[in-house]
Amino acid sequence: MQIGLDPEQRALGKASGALAADLASGWDRGRGPSDVASAAPSDADWARIVEAGWPALRLREENGGLGAAAVDVAVLVEQLGRHSVAAPVIGTLVAAEQLQALGAPAETLEAIAAGELRVAPLLDAGLLGFAPSAEGALAWDSAGATLAYAPDGSAHALGEPLPTADVTRSVRRPGARVTDRDTALRPPAGDDRDRLHAFVLTLLVADLLGTMSAALDAAVEHATTRTQFGRPIGSFQAVQQIAAEDLVSVEATRSALYFSAWAVDALPPAEALRAARTAKAFASRSGVAVCQDAVQLFGGIGMTWESPAHVWLRRAQTDRTSFGDEHAHQAVLADLDLAPGA
């Protein structure tokens, strides 16, 4: 057993965090819901993202990628969540992984890895998983993306962003066909599908972990400086009891992420998916609970547009819903564990 990040992974986390923070600092949620900056990165920001190798991170080397382990990708995504990065890096990673699992040609994947082709994954209308076709689908985390591929390889342009709870990430409807960008895809083997699914769920767990730990840290910082009744509110036991349970949730979620991310590459696909469902169920619950608590600990100020507290809660709720919330996964796990003869 060697549980935890190795020095390289720690370095990756640090570097990713620095860039994520910098990207986040250039994005402005404005003075109210009608004043939010676009989640699409500027060309300069996208160039920095590509330069950092993020779109290429997980693709295999023969597809122009860096062939990183799922743990490494999780380390990056935790930082994207931690800084509520608006640029659609997660959407890109998910779309790339899906296309690779569907056997997309190397040139398509190379273009993604090089940041030249900006794609978003298509999810079904309930955001429960990948869409079977473009019909009624939603292009997820798709700010600035130019195309989305349906599983039949058809390429689709993307419409305007829809209204969303999450102010940092866009959801758009696929629009017109772009037939000259169609690509050849094949249905994935069951094993590939399970591993893809496990990978995607793991990224959402990572984003939830980053989001909830940012929310908790900020709430603790606020509680340390804000005074009422002549002392910092963080010195009140009622506040401490909440924050402590939140740290328990954060640390347990981190353990779940570590296992789930390790399992993607180390365990048989069905076991990896089972672990990822478990982690996603846990993180969905705990992520939202911690972000709700952070709003509470921030007090009145946490309910203003100005405060970041609602941004975390919006992102956590969206992560929770995307690719299935705790109820969706617990339903599957119940069937797996409790069916007669299971």
């Binding site: 109210g32 209204p163 007090g299 809660l313 709720q317």
Partner: protein, 376 residues
């Protein structure tokens, strides 16, 4: 034990229902605080309700009320909620403060506009440094020859952007500690030196504002009660702030619940057994809340601990937050993608454990004042 209406209440309720049936459609549209039009529509609605005799019915007739019990205020709130009408103007507690403490002159000057809803009021209590700890407020009203000069800042002041007057809790006795140094003033909001800054909430609501006072003169005649009596008046107001309005709020939660139930029945909101049972569980809570609010209202004058507003607020918050969590899950992806009203309502429910005294403070009040646990 009787949870049903007495004949008098039934008659009052029937009259209000008839009035709503006739007039609601004229006034209900566009009411809100998100635009100038919405605010104008809100004022029209309040004035119509006042003219029909349904505003502050519990106030003494000599001040323009109808001298009815709190129960009737509750019926107004309840029926408006049931009809899907906007709430009544939330001025009962201000009206009682003025009626019970102000001079005859001040009353004559301000009550007609307040009760007729021709003038709009706000209540300046919270400050950036005094939220849960209200007694720590630092806005000062320094005595002058003919009144006071106010300096300081208020925050979370509902409707301040459009208010004509403000009932202001401020410090007039700098040599007195904490709550003993406070007084209550009526401040005209067009007095020079007042600046208002809108606060946009996470859910997009623009109801709140910050109000800055920079050498704002207030005539001595605008003092409510006596100097140093501010805290007592504020406490007095609190007893009028909830009860009846809780009935309306509970009714509105009931509407949200009923809409969710209808959505499930009709198949518009697909729900598996687990979600159906979660909805049933919160329906149980909402039903018990409505019984509790009714009991609390009727028992208000008794020494029964059930009369406590803090208990009611904690229970309401518990139910409201659970309700919106379930409704959110019923909406599924539609909660996070698409029209944002459901998500904004969910956010607003989260605020209920903060505004009007955080959950933590409310629990402390219950523990110390009702259970008699020792102060830390």
């Amino acid at each position: 034990m009787d949870f049903s209406d007495s004949p008098d209440v039934a008659e009052f309720r029937a009259g209000l229902r008839a009035w709503l049936g006739e007039h609601l459609a004229t006034y209900a549209d566009g009411v809100g605080y998100d635009s100038a039009e919405g605010v104008a529509a809100t004022h029209r609605w309040h004035r119509a309700l006042a003219a029909a005799g349904y505003v502050t019915v519990s106030l003494d007739p000599e001040y323009g009320g109808r001298g009815l019990s709190d129960l009737y205020e509750a019926v107004v709130n309840e029926e408006l909620a049931a009809a899907g009408a906007p709430p009544p103007p939330p001025i009962g507690h201000i009206a009682h403060a003025v009626a019970d403490f102000a001079s005859a002159d001040l009353k004559a000057r301000v009550l007609p506009g307040l009760l007729g809803c021709t003038e709009s009021w706000c209540q300046g209590f919270s400050e950036p440094g005094a939220g849960s700890d209200l007694a720590a407020l630092s806005t000062t009203a320094t005595a002058t020859d003919d009144g006071f000069v106010v300096n300081g800042q208020k925050i979370w002041t509902s409707w301040a952007m459009w208010a004509d007057r403000c009932l202001l809790l401020c410090r007039t006795e700098p040599d007195q500690a904490r709550h003993r140094g406070l007084s209550m003033l009526v401040v005209d909001m067009d007095t020079p030196g007042i600046t208002r800054r809108e606060i946009t909430l996470a859910n997009g609501s623009r109801e709140f504002a910050e109000v800055f006072f920079d050498d704002v003169p207030v005539p001595a005649a605008n003092l409510v009660g006596e100097r140093g009596q501010g805290w007592r008046i504020a406490q007095h107001m609190l007893t009028y702030e909830r009860g009846p309005a809780d009935m309306g709020w509970t009714g509105r939660l009931g509407n949200v619940l009923a809409a969710a139930q209808e959505g499930v029945r009709s198949g518009r909101l697909p729900a598996d057994d687990v979600l159906r049972r979660r909805l049933a569980a919160v329906a149980v809570d909402a039903q018990v809340l409505s019984w509790h609010v009714a009991r609390s209202l009727v028992d208000r004058s008794s020494a029964d601990p059930g009369s406590s507003g803090s208990i009611d607020k904690l229970l309401t918050t518990r139910v409201e937050q659970e309700l919106y969590a379930v409704v959110g899950d019923l909406n599924g992806a539609a909660q996070v993608v698409g029209e944002q009203r459901p998500f904004n309502e969910y956010l607003w429910a989260r605020a209920q454990s903060i505004y009007g005294g955080t959950q933590q403070i409310q629990r402390q009040i219950v523990a110390q004042r009702l259970l008699g646990l020792p102060r830390g």
